[in-house]
């Protein structure tokens, strides 16, 4: 057996390395220099994100593979990393909200956030199941801690614990699936497995089981029904800046891996495990939306809404990854902007000394007392509901047109009817902001520069992606695998 030294190209993981160095520094520095304000730490984090962004853009120009094909720094991965970094930056800005400040140890918080992003990046830039698993674990462990970072609050710890227990199970499924697939095909590379699946073999059952288990592991992270049970509890208990980040990032990463899996299988015939995708998509949208209607807590509503959005994304994935990937990337970008924007407003209504204001009724009077905040929230809600002229509409337009093109008209009909259902609960917030009289005087710590920046970036992004989608979509169309 001939052993060759692996060709390591460190520049293919440059963004991950930058974030790693910065995360370690964030963990260490506060122990030596005590008086670092959170603004300085945030600025440091943001700078590291920008440096990582620079390397992402360079890799976009010159895609490459490293570590003996185990790391794929292709444009698809780079587009996703762009979205992760954007989400990270916005979450850092949300975390500057003064009402969240008391429980966050900022050095740890930012370091964990960066570890989570490293996990996302590792996970999405590989075709190798071990590397994907590695990324998944880095991400998950960081997120477990982040969910419970508000140590003194019962619900936060509960959220972390639930997330951890169920997450551990899901990772087990993933690992078991990977093991079965390795047994069946003798490889851990998704591409090789896809080719093996094309050939009829006696291992078909083993492969199917393996693929299904793998899918379950990812479905848990993306919160597809029926693997969504953890979502509302975790969203409710975890600190808002963390929820803002994990609602977008994890979903994106899980879908990216699914994209790679679907793509690997497509050249062969449609694999049996893919036949369940339309059903899971329909179920995910419908259950998410129906459950969201009956929620009285805004964060739980957003949790169920995020489930339904995972369903919309799955509608496009059903059509096959080549067409779907630009549409999915586009929607993920829009979703990141509008969701983090909405969570920024939710975070603003938090109170450091008392319970968070999370009921729909708590938003009464916002429309006239803080017109700018309410206006941006309205735009985010309208966009989440998929009404033009916002990015949410254009995103859904691309997703659904991919599915119609592939002939899944019935699935798209289910999807659009779900959009109508979703309008009901998104507008409930708008109703409370503008149409009901306030009960008690609503006061916010406003204006704050960090949050202002988030709102402005998100609103401009959402409107720009809704009115002039061409340039961004064209860019994502080049994001091949």
């Amino acid at each position: 057996m001939e052993l060759s030294a692996p060709i390591i190209k460190l520049h293919t993981i440059a963004p991950q390395l930058i974030l790693l160095i910065s995360a370690v520094m964030l963990l260490l520095i506060p122990h030596f220099i005590k008086r670092l304000s959170r603004e300085i730490l945030a600025a440091f984090t943001l700078v590291s994100f920008f440096v990582a962004l620079y390397f992402v853009l360079r890799l976009w120009q010159h895609p490459d593979t490293g570590f003996n094909q185990m790391v794929l720094a292709d444009r698809f991965a780079m587009a996703l990393q762009l979205i992760f970094l954007l989400g990270g930056m916005l979450s850092v800005l949300v975390s500057l909200n003064r009402v969240e400040a008391d429980y966050l140890h900022f050095g740890d918080f930012y370091a964990l956030l960066q570890f989570a992003i490293i996990g996302l990046m590792v996970m999405t830039s590989s075709n190798h199941l071990l590397i994907i698993f590695l990324g998944l674990e880095i991400l998950s462990i960081a997120l477990y801690v982040l969910a419970g970072i508000r140590k003194m609050r019962v619900d936060s710890v509960e959220a972390a614990f639930k997330y951890f227990l169920l997450g551990a199970f899901a990772t087990g499924f993933f690992l078991y699936g990977a093991a079965l697939l390795y047994g069946a095909t003798g490889s851990l590379d998704i591409g090789v497995m896809g080719k093996m699946m094309a050939v009829k073999s006696s291992n078909a059952l083993l492969m199917l089981t393996g693929a299904c288990l793998l899918f379950i592991g990812l479905a848990f992270k993306a919160a597809f029904v029926p693997f969504h049970m953890w979502t509302p509890d975790v969203y409710q208990g975890a600190p808002t800046p963390v929820v803002a980040f994990m609602s977008t990032g994890t979903k994106a990463a899980a879908l990216a891996v699914l994209c790679r899996m679907v793509l690997a299988v497509i050249p062969a015939q449609v694999s049996p495990w893919m036949e369940i995708l339309p059903f899971i998509a329909a179920l995910t949208m419908t259950v998410g939306n129906l459950m969201a209607i009956v929620q009285n807590n805004v964060k739980r509503m957003m949790a169920y809404s995020s489930i339904s959005h995972a369903g919309y994304l799955l509608v496009a994935l059903t059509a096959g990854a080549v067409w779907a990937s630009p549409a999915i990337l586009y929607y993920l970008l829009v979703y990141t902007l509008m969701n983090i924007g909405a969570f920024a407003v939710i975070s603003m209504l938090g109170q450091s000394d008392r319970a968070e204001r999370l009921r729909f009724e708590d938003y009464r009077g916002l429309g006239y007392r803080y017109p700018f905040v309410a206006l941006t929230m309205t735009i985010f809600m309208v966009s989440l509901a998929g009404i033009p002229p916002t990015g949410g509409f254009m995103g859904k337009f691309y997703l659904f047109s991919v599915a119609v093109k592939a002939g899944y008209v019935k699935l798209v009909v289910i999807a659009v009817i779900n959009s109508v259902i979703s309008v009901y609960y998104y507008l409930r917030l708008v109703v409370n902001m503008y149409m009901r009289e306030e009960e008690t005087e609503l006061t916010l710590t406003w204006p704050q520069q960090g949050l202002l920046a988030v709102l402005i970036v998100a609103v401009i992004g959402v409107l720009w992606l809704g009115i002039a989608p061409e340039s961004m979509y064209a860019l994502f169309s080049q994001a091949g695998f």
């Binding site: 033009p388 002229p389 659904f400 798209v412 109508v420 507008l427 109703v431 503008y434």
Partner: protein, 529 residues
């Protein structure tokens, strides 16, 4: 007068109001009087700009005029394409005419959140004009759905007791239809790119394609449901009374005057030319529903104790006439439908204004609370009387022209529908005159009514300007009919031609390389480009 062919007049018309709305956002909310004047001037400016459009529009041509085209999202074939023809011209004029009137009549009644009110109305005007002018399907859809948001706020913020329920109901009903239309648009888009070989959402490109009969039926349903809900046709009308009754006066006027016309406009613009055979298939169903709507609307109006509800249900009846006329598919009926769309906008809009005037003074809309108002408010009663007669369709006033043309046209195709619909005319006289009598005649016995003030100058100006057009259309409708005739004739000719072509195509499936629908799907799913 300036020549309009070289300036992007349609874009200016469409985006001037929303530009005004954005400017208004910067004005401090305390300066209410300035905000009112600003909104009024803005909408008047739009109206004045639309006048040369009407005058310079060439009624002899059936083509789209003042066309503007630009690329917008070229990769998927979405363009920025505006144009006006005889069918949309009158709707555009109606919109630019009614909006300043609404702003004017909101002068006194709206005292709360004036700034927001004016902003949403200006946004609404942009969306409404966009719906009538857009010739790209996605652009059209954008305005169609975009219009929901301002209307939702108008009902939900400035409406009556049940306003939130009404606003949500309005939003959900309309959006439900809209999203199914979006699926229809997407399916048609891929059909078109398969047939024609290039991607386009352009309306004119789409009118050139032939669609097999089975697909036409499904697509007609997807589009038709959206429009039928908007019209609203029986049995999709249930959102209408709630929305109308709860909306503030201005909202009701726009809702009745223009938003409902978007439904009938949609049938004319999209359902007939794109799905001619399906239109024929569904002719019976739609005509029966229209006749039911006419009679049902009239009967329900008859028993309403609430003035606003009465007017709202009368809309169901009047719009039934329009639907009946559209699907009769001959020149008289279609011309009648178009003019009836304008008539209904004018007379029902005016009726809502009149109800609003009395509601503002008495804070009740119950017919039983009034009586003998003619003695106390003679000018008001006189105006009310004329509008009532116009709504009934008295010769010499606008309503007669539309209903007469529709009935003549329908009589030519299917007599029974014309006969049944004619009872609607009689019934409308019954409920309108009963109402008029109970409100204005009889003894002035309620104490509260004895102190009522007659119409003020603002209300008088608004109502008189509507009356002017009621008489104009009633006495000399040719001004308007001349503009529409060519477009209507071409529409009918196109529909008839395509009906026969589609039937030939189905007999002889592959004459010109047009594949059937099954093949379309199978090819699309396999090709992996």
């Amino acid at each position: 007068m300036v020549d309009l062919t070289n300036i992007p007049i349609l874009s200016i018309l469409t985006f001037l109001p929303i530009g005004g709305a954005l400017l208004l956002m910067l004005v401090p909310r305390q300066r209410e009087q300035f905000i009112r004047y600003f909104a009024l001037i803005m909408t008047l400016l739009v109206f004045l700009l639309s006048l040369p459009l009407f005058i310079q529009f060439d009624g002899a041509s059936s083509a789209f005029q003042f066309v503007e085209r630009a690329e917008w999202i070229p990769s998927v074939g979405i363009g920025y394409h505006l144009g006006v023809d005889g069918i949309s011209l009158l709707m555009v004029m109606l919109t630019t005419f009614l909006t300043p009137i609404v702003i004017l009549t909101s002068w006194k009644p709206i005292t709360r959140r004036v700034k927001e009110y004016m902003i949403v109305f200006l946004m609404l005007e942009t969306a409404m004009l966009g719906v009538f002018l857009a010739l790209d399907m996605i652009l059209f859809y954008l305005f169609w759905e975009g219009m929901l948001i301002p209307m939702y706020f108008i009902i939900g913020v400035w409406g009556g007791q049940q306003r939130i329920y009404a606003a949500i109901k309005f939003f959900l009903f309309t959006m439900f239809g809209g999203v199914l239309m979006l699926v229809g648009i997407l399916v048609l888009y891929f059909m078109h790119s398969h047939q024609a070989g290039f991607a386009s959402f352009d309306y004119l490109d789409w009118t050139r394609m032939l669609i097999d009969q089975r697909s036409q039926l499904w697509l007609f349903l997807a589009f038709g449901l959206a429009f039928a809900i908007k019209v609203p046709m029986f049995p999709f009308h249930t959102w209408l009374p709630d929305a109308h009754v709860e909306a503030p006066t201005g909202g009701s006027v726009i809702l009745a005057g223009i938003l409902l016309k978007m439904g009938t406009y949609g049938f004319l613009r999209f359902c007939l030319p794109l799905f001619p055979n399906a239109s024929q298939e569904f002719y019976m169903l739609i005509s029966i529903l229209a006749v039911i709507g006419i009679i049902y609307g009239a009967l329900v109006s008859w028993v309403q104790p609430d003035l606003k509800k009465l007017v709202a249900f009368s809309s169901v009846s009047h719009l039934g006439f329009v639907m009946l006329g559209i699907f009769a598919l001959n020149t008289e009926a279609l011309q009648g439908s178009l003019i009836q769309m304008v008539n209904h906008g004018l007379s029902t809009g005016a009726l809502f204004l009149l109800v609003g005037i009395i509601y503002e003074r008495r804070h009740t809309r119950m017919i039983a609370d009034f009586g003998g108002l003619a003695r106390q408010m003679p000018i008001y009663a006189a105006l009310f009387g004329i509008i009532t007669l116009s709504s009934i369709g008295l010769p010499g006033l606008n309503g007669f022209v539309g209903e007469f043309l529709i009935l003549v046209g329908v009589f030519k195709t299917k007599q029974i529908f014309a006969i049944l619909a004619a009872t609607g005319v009689i019934l409308s006289a019954v409920y309108m005159l009963t109402m008029f009598q109970r409100v204005h005649f009889g003894p002035l016995d309620k104490e509260a009514n004895k102190k009522l003030k007659d119409v003020n100058s603002i209300e008088l100006v608004a109502l008189l300007s509507i009356l002017l057009f009621c008489f104009w259309i009633g006495i000399y409708p040719s001004t308007f009919l001349n503009k529409t005739e060519a477009s209507v004739d071409k529409l009918i000719a196109d529909v008839k031609l395509k009906q026969t072509q589609t039937i030939e195509m189905s007999r002889n499936p592959h004459p010109t390389g047009i594949e059937s629908d099954d093949e379309f799907y199978s090819v699309e799913t396999q090709s992996n480009e």
